[in-house]
Amino acid sequence: MNQAIRSAWVVAMGMFALVLGSLTFVQFFQAEELTENPWNSRQLYQEFGRQRGAILVDGRAVAESVPSNDQFNYQRVYEEPELYAHLTGYYSLSLGSTQLEDAQSEILSGTDSSLFYDRVVRLFSGVDAQGANVELTIDPEIQQLAYDLIPDGQRGSIVVMEPSTGNILAMVSKPTYDPNLLAGHDTAVIAENAAALSEQPGLSIYTNPATESLVSPGSVFKLIDAAAAVESGRYDAESEIPNPPALEFPGIQYTLPNFVTGGCASRTTADLEFALEQSCNTAFANIALDLGEAAIQEQAAKFGFGEELAIPTRVIASTFPSDLTEPELAQSAVGQFDTLVTPLQMAMVSAAIANDGEQMKPQLIKSVRAADLELIESPQPEVLRQSVSQETANQLTDWMVNVVDNGTATGAQVPGVAVAGKTGTAEFSETGDNAWFTGFAPADDPQVAISIVMENVDIPTGQQLTSPSAKRLIEAVLNR
């Protein structure tokens, strides 16, 4: 009988050995594969269970994590959600995260390498891991003003930045949305809200229009033509450029006209000052045809075209087309055809001209602070490149001041301040036009560079919504 009992023991031990083997298999050899399984929500719970840092504007949180009584422990809450939606993005259980929530995720969640020391201290002090806070360069008053300057229902973007540092003071776009709708902990509700938002015309919850939508620049692109012309050394303030009412091309039906009701018709040749002042298409088309595609392209690249940026959110590359026929080049040079820019790109062009030709990298982050407010990092102004020489910048500035004083942008005049600017209208026959303003002030000591674009508007409305808005913004920044 004892022999049988010993056999029973061997069988029992065999069963235990099998169980230990399978535990080892699951917990050691298979662990990584199981952890990465899409059904495994533990990583998500772990990430969402941490106290994520806040996104601050002038010391006030516009996005923060507050304790919640559900299994995630914390709920992301957005203050003034519509005003900051395109900057903060959202931090969503089922949709992932976007914009700053995405770009600064490691800092906000406390896993960034710059927070390593902090984590070690926490490990030993037993305090729960906490993310760092991100303070933005945004000025809440300017942000609010810019927001109010885009009428509800109007699709448009406004970017306000400091030319000398690249700091972004305001960046708003409409239509906007409430990220709180996507930050809840009920995935069914999130899906429902996302579906409802996707039906809003002109709104994409995934992108920030100021940095991730490409629009036709129209005549504001002429700043780049003018810069190319002066930089080439073949044009100066005295150069007389042919300015016919319309530019014809041999062999095809296409003609490029000047704006019919504008002042261009008064002269058949124009100097650069007049051509900018009245925004004469044929004069700039002639410059482009004279300098060639490569020269325009090179100057565009010097202003940042063709390059993605992380500010730290993503800025997509603005484009100037290549391999162009003459009519295409003529069109592209006046900001039509396949010339496409982000609203931020045009602010960067003005800012570079304002900053003596030196282009600063746009920056949204003022500082990163640990949960105990200790300063971890504050990005320093960063020079991207010399877009134009100082002389060219000064020359362009004079011409741009003239545009505001005597030309198409008189609505942007601010009493006692020299404002430099350029308007633009990109024409689309079916959907209306894009109305632009870009410029800076004061011309002699630039404090602010602005880019405003209103999409799909008729021309009078566009003029109302651009230059006068620029005036209000310049006044607001200068009176801070």
Binding site: A12, M15, L18, A31
Partner: protein
């Protein structure tokens, strides 16, 4: 019948210190489970610490006076397992309460059950004194088993999650099947120890296999019927496997015949085949074992694989070192405080912790089987080995199911899972094994004994009738 001799030493002091160690593990685990989530050293902490300490010291004292040669390792192991289980149940309560403030905590009830179970074990130790008395109740045990197994099918019974194995007992539910495990073991030990010679000697020999006589297959047939009956009428695959394993191992030990095991395995195969064909719940479990990671199987209700897959995620999250008590998310697994408690422990204590727990079971089973080897009576050998093997089988079925080694069946992890009946039954088993180990280790009497056997027992387990007073007086 051979026996294994052990030096006759009491070892109660060793038990005492091991018990202190076990209590330290249990109380510390409970403290860690609540840290940062509730008031430190709150009401529950003290109720767990005091109940477990007082009750286990009570058993220790009873052993000192009534069974001082009992195995010194068994009690500390069981106290540690019980304590770690309580800590994990409490820790899962805290998570559940965080999500649903109206949640009724399970752990206080489990502490109550612990007190009841250890108390019952103490009563059994005092009343029984010697396990051989049970042999008298061989056939009564059979009747009691039948009644216990039929109880859930009466109007008293409750059906929970498709299985009809509970009865309502006023303050809660009870699984009579857990107690039936013990009474059936008593019946089989009694029956087989009495009739083994008959069973062994009769029968044809074909090749190396000595086939049993058909009529001697009767107990095997009864066992098979009970198991299949439990499966059909109560829809409880786990208990069914457990009963059948218990019978198989006891028949094997009684006869030492591999042929019986083969017959048993053949009967299991038939049973499994029939169950797969007839019962959708068995077929579904089988399917969600094989195809656990198929999307349509994962989300299927009922019988989906989400539970086992989530359990695997938990184990994987624990990895080698574990997340630490209270730092994982074992609450994401359904039934994490009962059927899936090993997944919860594996997540928070890691592979290292869960292996340590399995090693405790290994030790417990080994000590039980050691008692079976040491005791001199066949009844005790059968009972101790059968009950110990049941614990091993139960661990295998539970942990194997959780790690997807075999299909998942709803069984409790002995001493750890939330559930009073299982805890009570397992503590009674421990009391029995302790008593058997006492007879195994007790020194052989050197002087004529007066009281170690209450009554001399006959071959059929009934006491030998005393000679008439007339004869004595003559």
């Amino acid at each position: 019948m051979s026996d294994v001799l052990t030096a006759p030493r009491s070892r109660r002091t060793v038990e005492f210190f091991l018990l202190l160690l076990a209590l330290a593990v249990a109380v510390c685990a409970n403290y860690l489970a609540g840290i940062g989530r509730e008031e430190a050293l709150g009401d529950y902490f003290w109720s767990q610490a005091i109940t477990l300490s007082a009750m286990s010291l009570l058993i220790h004292l009873i052993l000192r006076f009534r069974a001082k040669y009992a195995d010194p390792v068994i009690l500390p192991i069981v106290v540690a397992l019980n304590g770690i289980g309580l800590a994990m149940i409490h820790r899962l309560d805290l998570s559940a309460a965080q999500i649903n403030p109206d949640f009724t905590p399970v752990a206080p009830q489990q502490v109550l059950w612990t007190a009841v179970a250890i108390g019952a074990a103490a009563v059994l130790l005092i009343l029984l004194r010697d396990h051989r008395i049970l042999r008298r109740f061989t056939y009564i045990s059979l009747i009691v088993s039948a009644i216990l197994l039929l109880l859930p099918l009466t109007p008293l019974g409750l059906e929970i999650n498709g299985a009809r194995i509970w009865i309502s007992v006023g303050f809660g539910t009870f699984q009579p099947g857990e107690i039936a495990k013990i009474t059936l073991a008593v019946f089989f030990a009694g029956y087989l120890s009495t009739n083994r010679d008959l069973i062994l000697l009769a029968g044809k020999k074909i090749g190396p296999l000595q086939l049993p006589r058909f009529r001697d297959l009767a107990p095997m047939g009864a066992a098979w019927l009970v198991s299949i009956g439990v499966l059909i009428f109560q829809r409880d695959l786990g208990s069914s496997i457990l009963f059948f394993g218990l019978f198989m191992v006891m028949i094997y030990i009684a006869t030492s015949r591999v042929s019986w095991v083969l017959i048993g395995l053949a009967m299991i195969a038939v049973g499994v085949f029939v169950a797969l064909e007839l019962f959708s719940h068995v077929a579904l479990r089988f399917d969600s074992w094989i195809n656990a990671f198929a999307p349509e199987v994962y989300d299927r209700a009922p019988g989906g694989s989400a539970q086992v897959v989530q359990g695997l995620f938990g184990l994987a999250n624990g990895g080698l070192m574990g997340t630490g008590l209270g730092a994982g998310r074992p609450d994401l697994v359904t039934y994490s405080n009962s059927d899936m408690i090993i997944a919860a422990l594996g997540e928070e204590l890691g592979l290292i912790g869960v292996v340590a727990i399995v090693m405790l079971y290994v030790l417990l089973v080994s000590r039980g089987i050691r008692a079976a080897l040491g005791t001199k009576d066949g009844f005790g050998k059968l009972l101790a080995c059968g009950l110990s093997f049941t614990i091993a089988l139960q661990c295998f079925v539970v942990i194997g199911g959780i790690t997807r080694l075999i299909p998942l069946t709803g069984l409790t992890t002995p001493f750890m899972s939330a559930g009073g009946s299982s805890l009570l039954a397992n503590w009674l088993i421990v009391a029995l094994i302790l008593l058997i180990s006492e007879t195994a280790r007790r020194p052989a009497p050197t002087t004529p004994m007066k009281d170690s056997f209450l009554e001399p027992l006959g071959v059929n387990g009934k006491p030998v009738k005393k000679k008439s007073t007339k004869e004595v007086s003559r």
